[in-house]
Amino acid sequence: MRRFFCGLLLLFLCCRLTPVAAAAEGLPQDLSDYFQKGNKAYLNGDYEQATEAYRRVLEAGIYNPDLSFNLANAYSRAGQKGLAVLFYEKTLQMDPNDEAARSNLNIVRKDLIDRVVDAPGGAAGDPLWHSFIRSLSLGWLTWTFLSLYMLVFTLMIGKRLLRNESLRRLAFWVNIPLLTLAMVFGLLLASRIYLQEKVHHGVVIAASLPIREGPERTAKVLMEVHEGLKVRYLKEVGDFMRVRLSNGVEGFIQSSQLGRI
């Protein structure tokens, strides 16, 4: 019996540690050098060179909140607000608890031209629960759920195998709150995965951009939006993306002028 539990624990730890070990793999020295080069350029006020250096690291496949944050800062200092907002959003997607990224994003947003106000009749933007769920880290949700899930089943199996009636009873009563928590986290994780997979957002990176009534260049312009505006992707139609603003207004924007978060 003891062997069984030890085996189960070992299996769980192996699963838990696998991605960490993968992440800790050594970084090529030149990429690290590029990162430091970007930092140095940033400190010297050469923001274009800084963004270029950070980009090199990014293009090498490094998807990291520190890199994304530094890149956003460099874009912000260089006056490219659209790209700054995009990379702050990416940073927050990786780590929703990154307060520095949230603070800088708010500062940049104050300077944006567009202010989305007054939802037209019947129109509605993203529901509130979207914001709440997105504020939870996907990794944290996943591992918390998996931990609870494993614990719940361990106790269930233990209850089956244990012969001591007191221990069996203890396992049962401990498992009830754990099972409830696991179900809640399971629901949250499912919602988070749904948002991750099905609900996508983008940021306008062009200085100004028309929102049209249809997916044609000749379609009537509904309004003009400017860099840094966050929109929700609805459907891609040719070169255009049907988007929805946070106040529920919908229209078509050229996909190439948007940066996906």
Partner: protein, 628 residues
């Protein structure tokens, strides 16, 4: 009668026609030249004037010389002007143009009482036309000062509308039109408000023109006024007035005025001012130009006294001033701007005055001020306001103070320095703004602004990449499914184990079969040791276990006869039943008489029992019904 009536009728018509023609002709002839006189008032104070207008209607121009104004009594002509217009009318079916000339005479009374004007006479084409005489009542001088603005006696249509709104003319000019212009008929004078001043004190220079003839300003050229800061004054609304100079009556007008603020001490000289005038001694004579000069002026300028000079006094701060400073709001939220306005008001060189500066305040971010200078354009004295608007952003919550500001200046009237101070301004800065109201400031609690600052980049990073989300990994689903799978396995195992523990016939048969196998092996081992009693006991038990395993009959407590009987009932053939019975009896014999058994006999017994068990297993048996 009829003939007489007709003749009478024609006679009447002829007479009427002739009369109408005559009347028309008379009217037409009479309308050719007319002259009328009118005055703008019938009663005039001694210090004011009355305008006499002679309107002449004539087909051609009438020279002024053909008009005899006649006796004006106690009124003296002090000015004239003319106005021409053309009238168009139909008379007798013909177009007719009539020229209307207005000869305006400005008459000044010389004594009180009733006087008479006219009648005026016009001599035109050998005929004399005259007006009616007009009575004018001259009363005592009005108490209203001549400084009060008067309407021009020439109306708005002055012949020299540029800088003069009056036209100067003496009666002598009118009467002696061909007389030459005298030197003293027109001159200019410049005066200073004071000949002694201190540095920074205002000295006003006024340029006036005095004239007894019609004149207007063509141009003026001021000398270089070194040593002065100059503020021009607006004199466009100055009015002409009269004044006796050297026993002669002149009209005078302020041409220009400048406020001078000395910027150095010593004897400062104002060189002559050059004025070019266009002069007309009569409206009927051509205009001539004349250049006039003022006399040089000297102003004695002293330095400001050193005694009693405040430390914060700054040169140029001379005059009479008042100082105020205040904020637009005394309660604000953190990071919300406040406007502090410092206002300096008074007389003096407002543009050059230097108010105090707001010092650096540690708890405020101060932006450069917006300066607004308002200086009055009119009036001899320069007055105005200088305002400084500072935008202050509080950097800490609590009660913050803007200190008192000090401003020192020299007051020339009192010949002393004065110092003004603003009040200390207290601003309550709340840490946050809630529900549109400023949140209460915590007593003594101050918070530095740290929010809103741009967060710096990160210098150290492992640059570990955030790969695919966990749920997308291939092992995620197996990991997710393994706990319930494992649980199912365990549950199945437990179920099976629990089921094996029940006392059913089948379980007994299974357990009996297992016992039989074990016991046969054990019996084989015992046979080699030669222990006959143990061997046969084990062999007998194995045989009974075999019966139980095959038929479900529990032989314990039953006789061999009962066992074989039940076996036969369950379908075991009699021969096999008998063999089992015989082997069981043989075992009993061996157990209880072990000495009679040898090793080879025990081996034979073991082989026989095995054969019997095999035979039993080949039998078609209906196992006994379930019993617990």
């Amino acid at each position: 009668m009829k003939t007489g009536d007709r003749a009478t009728r024609w006679a009447i018509l002829w007479v009427m026609g002739v009369a109408a023609w005559a009347a028309q002709a008379t009217v037409a002839h009479a309308a050719e030249v007319t002259i009328q006189a009118s005055v703008d008032r019938s009663e005039v104070p001694l210090n004011q004037q009355v305008a006499l207008v002679l309107s002449v209607e004539a087909p051609d121009s009438v020279p002024a010389g053909q008009i005899d104004l006649g006796d004006t009594g106690s009124l003296r002509v002090t000015g004239t002007r003319t106005e021409d217009s053309l009238s168009f009318s139909f008379r007798g079916g013909k177009r007719q143009f009539t020229k209307i000339q207005k000869f305006v005479y400005i008459l000044s009374p010389t004594k009180t009482g009733t006087t008479r004007i006219g009648p005026a006479k016009l001599k035109y084409q050998g005929k004399i036309y005259s007006t009616k005489a007009i009575r004018i009542q001259v009363v005592a001088a009005s108490k209203k000062s001549s400084r009060t603005r008067r309407s021009s006696p020439f109306g708005s249509r002055s012949p020299f509308p540029n800088n003069f709104d009056d036209f100067f003319r003496s009666s002598q000019d009118l009467l002696n039109q061909k007389e030459e212009l005298k030197e003293d008929d027109i001159f200019v004078r410049a005066t200073v408000s004071q000949s002694a001043a201190v540095v920074g004190q205002q000295v006003t220079v006024t340029l006036r023109v005095y004239s007894r003839v019609g004149a207007r300003l063509a141009s003026s050229r001021w000398p270089k006024l070194d040593g002065f800061f100059i503020v021009p004054r607006d004199t466009s609304r100055s009015q002409a007035d009269q004044k006796y100079v050297d026993g002669k009556l002149y009209r005078f007008l302020v041409l220009a005025q400048k406020a001078l603020f000395p910027i150095q001490s010593g004897e400062l000289t104002i060189a002559p001012i050059e004025v070019e005038m266009e002069i007309s001694s009569s409206p009927f004579l051509p205009v001539v130009s004349k250049t006039l000069y003022t006399k040089p002026l000297t102003v004695s300028v002293r330095d400001l006294p050193a005694a009693g000079r405040p430390e914060d006094f700054r040169s140029g701060n001379v005059g009479q001033f008042s100082l105020s400073g205040g904020v637009d709001s005394t309660e604000v939220a953190l990071n919300q701007p406040v406007t502090y306005t410092l206002r300096l008001q008074g007389t003096g060189n407002i543009q050059g005055v230097r108010p105090p500066k707001l010092p650096e305040l540690a708890r405020f971010k101060i932006f450069d001020p917006t300066v607004d200078v308002q200086v009055g354009k009119r009036g001899r004295t320069v007055k105005g306001t200088k305002s400084f608007e500072y935008i202050l952003v509080p950097l800490a919550s609590g009660t913050l103070e803007i200190p008192s500001l000090s401003f020192s200046f020299f007051d020339p009237r009192q010949s002393a320095y004065r110092t003004l101070k603003t009040k200390v301004q207290q601003i309550r800065v709340a840490a946050s703004k809630e529900n549109g109201k400023i949140a209460a400031v915590g007593a003594g609690h101050e918070v530095n602004i740290l929010a809103g600052a741009f967060k710096p980049i990160r210098f150290q990073s492992a640059l570990t990449t955030y790969g695919e989300p966990v749920y997308r990994h291939s092992w995620f689903l197996p990991l997710l499914l393994s706990p319930p799978g494992l649980y199912l396995l365990v549950a199945l195992f437990a179920f099976v184990r629990a089921r094996g523990r029940t006392n059913s016939v089948r379980n007994r048969m299974r357990r009996a079969w297992l016992r039989r196998q074990r016991r046969l092996k054990q019996a084989g081992r015992i046979a080699s040791t030669g222990k006959a009693a143990e061997f046969y006991a084990e062999l007998s038990a194995a045989l009974m276990d075999a019966v139980e395993a095959r038929t479900g009959i529990a032989p314990a407590g039953m006789t061999l006869v009962e066992v074989t009987g039940q076996m036969e009932q369950l379908g075991v053939s009699s021969a096999v039943a008998e063999q089992i019975k015989a082997e069981a009896e043989n075992c009993d014999f061996g157990r209880f008489a072990p000495a009679s058994s040898r090793g080879d006999q025990m081996q034979d017994s073991l082989e026989r029992v095995r054969k019997v068990i095999k035979s039993l297993e080949r039998e078609r048996v209906r196992p006994q019904a379930e019993t617990t």
